[in-house]
Amino acid sequence: MNIAKQFPKMLYEPRPALDVAYIRILLFGFFIYKLLSRDFPVFGVIPKELLNHYPHEQYRWQAGYDFLGLPQLVDLASFHWIHWAIPLPNETTLWSIYFAAILACLLVVLFGRGPRHLFAIASYILPSYLWGFVWRSSNDIDAVFMHLQMILIYCFFREKEALTIGSKTPVLSFSAQNGWFVSMVLLVFCTYYFYAGLNKLIDISPLDWFRFDLFHQISDGYDTMKLGYFKSIMPGLTPFQDNQLLNMICVPFTYVLELTIPLMFFRRKLIPFYLFFFEVFHLLTWGVGILFLGNMIIWFSLIPIHRFFQPITVIWDGDCTFCKTWIDRCNRLNWLGLIRFVSSNEVDSLPETLKAGWNPDIVKVAMWAKGTGSPDGHQGFDAFRRMAWVMPALWPILWVLYIPPIPIVGRIVYSWVAKNRYRFGCNSGVCQLPQKT
């Protein structure tokens, strides 16, 4: 893979305006949710001398973590530099800033970036300012970093937005610029987890990867709860307590995932795989009393939501009677009318844009599906999965079709069935096995 060539191509892979709108609503909705669940005005009550505990004070310098989290830098980044001139706000002022931050996020959800990107910029500055109190007291240091990076990128986005009040932008209009925004969000994930993975190579040795007793800590956590301590540990992990084998498997596996996550940028089909495992990983860290709920929520921004609404073209083998039976069944579930089934015998009548990427050889082994405007088509099991997005009857199982190792099994089974169609009632000549010579 030539990264230098592949990177710009993937950076601008076209995406519809709907995907950008979805990320916007999820991202700013997340901030509204988190703001409504935090008592920021409390910082007006806590004396400055108790509050200040900048990141550089937290660890010994030899540990190498955040020792440049100096007051000046943290204040600059959090807009607390204003307090170099004026005193820290009281509780009443903080209530005003708190509601202004919620309002700014709400305005972005409803109206998009706003005139001169004002809503977006306010939605970056105000939450950064409020979280500045958290950072200057060395608390959940990086819990909203990915989200704030995404807002920062959003501030620079300047295309027409969909799903805002008064917007007439078609939700399914694909563009390279929309693709850029989605790719940048993806880059935020890649850098965040990849850097964490690099640290597992730099700060510790690979042998140390086997010295993280996650499942023993879960036992300790449950014990502390029994003793009336305030800590809350994820319920339901009792069967896995003290499991040394799981320690040896889960922890190194997660580190490998962190190190390989840039692959997700270049091979977008890997996104569901990483999404699934990082959701599981973050759930498990709740077992040691650390919950990255924000990361868990924002991972869902990578769902290509447009697929629920995008018309698709499915090309199937028109000579295969077995396929015809199944296509008829699927057609009965085409309640939204978004699937256009085209037999391979009629494919010539299709406009080029709808069949770009298809070739007659594909149909011999699998059906093929492509969303209108999407750059890539899907084949076999993936085509069936693509159909499931627009078949409401299959929505309950849609997510299951992405959970590892179901896609691998699905592709194998599909391929086997396709090769053995004659066994399943296909009486056409095309389904016969090639004769041995």
Binding site: P8, L11, L36, S37, R38, D39, V42, V45, I46, L50, H56, E57, Q62, A63, G64, D66, F67, L68, G69, L73, A77, G132, F133, V134, S137, N139, D140, D142, A143, V144, F145, Q149, I153, R158, W180, L187, T191, Y192, Y195, A196, L198, N199, I202, D203, I204, S205, R211, F212, D213, L214, H216, D220, D223, L227, G228, Y229, F230, K231, S232, L291
Partner: protein
């Protein structure tokens, strides 16, 4: 003096096998370094060499990418990578990534609970949760910093009591202050905390706040020892440094 450009060319023309071998040697050597800070410095030095070698390619890419969005991408990656590479760098919302650390469990050690307890007039006590200081989540970090000086330890316990009083109208109903709007559907703390029966501990009945460490048998969970470090009596404002009890 060796020409910089020729040095760069030499680096770039090294066969891939040699590059990989050099990387492995470098990595093995860093394994002898104990303190992570020096490992990070070593990684930074390696990254500088790589960046030096590919610098013309980066400049060419930047010049070629005259598109607005390509420039933004370039700056984003430059800032993000720069902060990753500089050891200990931290500039929200950018930082060097979650650190590599180990967490080992020793089943022979006592199970220790530490923090602040609220004690009522009858001697009943309840742990002071990080939900009471939200959005300050790592209550332990604050405690370990301020326990070092008696004066700030007193101020800390007095402030905790004040926060408790402030939150109590909601605590009485079974909610933390952070659950004012969304109730139990609120976004949990970074270190999730339980709802303890604070309604049984109204502020007017709180006799003292104490900073303690309790030890339990790891197998039977039997109580073994309570080490009280500080006691603060909110009604009188009295503050005491203590030993074991």
């Amino acid at each position: 003096m060796m020409n910089i450009e020729s040095l760069r060319q030499k680096l770039n023309t090294l066969p891939p096998k040699i590059k990989i071998a050099l990387f492995i040697v470098w990595y093995l050597l860093t394994q002898w370094i104990e303190a992570p800070i020096f490992r990070r410095v070593s990684f930074f030095a390696l990254a500088l060499v790589v960046l030096f070698a590919i610098f013309p390619t980066i400049v060419a890419w930047f010049k070629k990418s005259n598109q607005y969005y390509s420039r933004i991408t370039f700056f984003f990656l430059a800032v993000s990578l720069g902060i990753k590479l500089i050891p200990g760098a931290y500039f929200p919302p950018f930082f060097g990534g979650i650190a590599g650390w180990t967490l080992t469990h020793d089943s022979r050690q006592n199970l220790a609970l530490s923090g602040v307890q609220l004690v009522d007039q009858d001697g009943q006590f309840i742990w002071y949760s990080n939900g009471l200081t939200s959005p300050i989540n790592f209550i332990g970090r604050q405690i370990s910093k301020h326990r070092k000086k008696e004066e700030t330890a007193k101020q800390l316990l007095a402030t905790y009591f004040r926060l408790y009083e402030r939150s109590y109208p909601l605590l009485e109903k079974g909610y933390y202050a952070s659950e004012r709007y969304l109730g139990h559907l609120s976004y949990p703390e970074h270190n999730p905390c339980r709802h303890l029966p604070y309604q049984n501990f109204p502020p007017h009945r709180i006799a003292q706040l104490r900073l303690v460490r309790e030890l339990y048998d790891p197998k039977t969970l039997a109580f073994q020892e309570r080490i009280i470090e500080y006691e603060y009596f909110p009604k009188t404002g009295e503050f005491r440094k203590r030993g074991k009890s």
